[in-house]
Amino acid sequence: MSLRFIKPGLQTSLQDSGRSGFMHHGIGAGGVMDSDSASLANWLVGNPANAAVLEITLIGPVIEFLSPMTIAVCGAEFVLSLNEFPIENGESIEVEKGDILTFGHRESGSRAYLAFSAEPDVEKCFDSFSTQLSAGFGGFKGRAFQANEELALKKIRQTKTRRLPRSLVANYLGKYLFRCCPAVETEKFETSVLQKFQQSAYQVSADSNRMGVRLIGEPIDYQAIGEIISGGLTQGSIQLPSSGLPIISSVDGQTIGGYPRIANIISADLPLLGQLRANDRVRFQIVTLEKAVNFLRQKQAYYNRLLAGKLTAH
């Protein structure tokens, strides 16, 4: 009972919804970068939203299924084929023993999520199946999969197939607005700095990964805002180092940092970080905490309706 990587892709790793309660040991949340897409893929195969999935980055794998199961792919749009026959993103598919899934050309986005109706047969590390690639622990041997490796599976089920409503099948345009809340040091920055931060169009640097997203653009020239003593960082924290170019922390980001925090991306927008790729355009807008919570509540309500089956449109 397993699946085998004929080709591993650029960076295919085992992830789940991540860890909680280890940040005081320097261990961040980890897990899938785009939790929206991973949850939808899991819903399609009847898994809980936090179940383990494969996170597939930029160049997809070729996978042979060694047992029958149900699978689904959500997130970045790849040309997909099962034994040479085209299949779609955003719907569940029953595969047979020996079936081969090929990820072809990537059309949009950065990370796709493959959910399977089974559990990985590997040990959890710090209470999660997530792979921490930079520190080398968790998931499958603490690293991305390599050619010819097999991921052992257990508790394989067959589930009834489902399809996402069209409106939920992602199409990433490469231009994003991230809404932010004020952070610890936001008020220490001059108004002109905060304005510039919100007016600038940044480009995503190729030097971005699961730890953080670096941006290219016109640097913000700002007066030192007094001594900053290293303090907590979370997913979505935006630091403004002296270079004047913001850095966004992501799932495997450091838990403590020493640059001033200019803003925090709101929870509702965090999953989109997982779809950023080099040269994508990014803007920021600061909103109030109340609005940030409302956006999250609205989004949650929408997903809950989907999970309750009220949005399933074929």
Binding site: S20, G21, M23, H24, H25, G26, I27, C125, F126, Q132, S134, A135, G136, F137, G138, G142, V184, E227, I229, S230, G231, G232, L233, T234, Q254, T255, I256, G257, S267, L289, A292, V293, L296, R297, Q300
Partner: protein
Amino acid sequence: MARVSPLLSQYIHQLSENLKNHKPQCVNEIIPAYRSLTVCFDPLIFEHKIVEEQLEKVIAQSYFNDLLEANETLIKIPVCYQGDFASDLAFVAETNNLTCEQVIERHTKPTYLVNMLGFLPGFLYLSGLDESLHTARKAIPALQVEAGAIGIGGGQTGIYPFASPGGWHIIGQTPVKIFKPESDTPFIAKPMDHIQFVPIDEAEFQRIARSENEFSGVDISEKNRL
């Protein structure tokens, strides 16, 4: 490293403990740092206002003098300050007008306080570096620093928990694994413990490295009273 004090660290960790034990448990992450405590919560479960009220309650019940029993754990970490293990030792010595022997002596003399863990998994924030050893970070970080490398960056000294890029000057290396994710005791120290570096030669380094690999669960650090 101004405005960092052992007493304040102790208070922050006390507050962190009190928060962990507080009911209702409204926070799911607590990140203690030198002068701050960051908490994370799910705003769909607990409203911001409620969390704030609960935090204020805990803060009101935690006093500066309501401190944990003084922690006297001293963890001795063997370090080889020789050869390839100490690629930047000569630079640190030269920059500070010291001999290599003086750098080693001044680095191994103090007991360092573990202010907190963080930044990287298992990384220890240590305070107590001799001022004559403070050395500005490298302008261009090294692409690969070995696990166990001992570095100096600005006014800080620390141990790289696993191989990674790094901007600190490397003055030695410990054969002891300070972060063992698969073990029941993954972290070599906890906040408010004390650390001391003990110089060893290359032969001793190899001997300890071998035994670390054979018995990866064995803690070879000596735990003494201060």
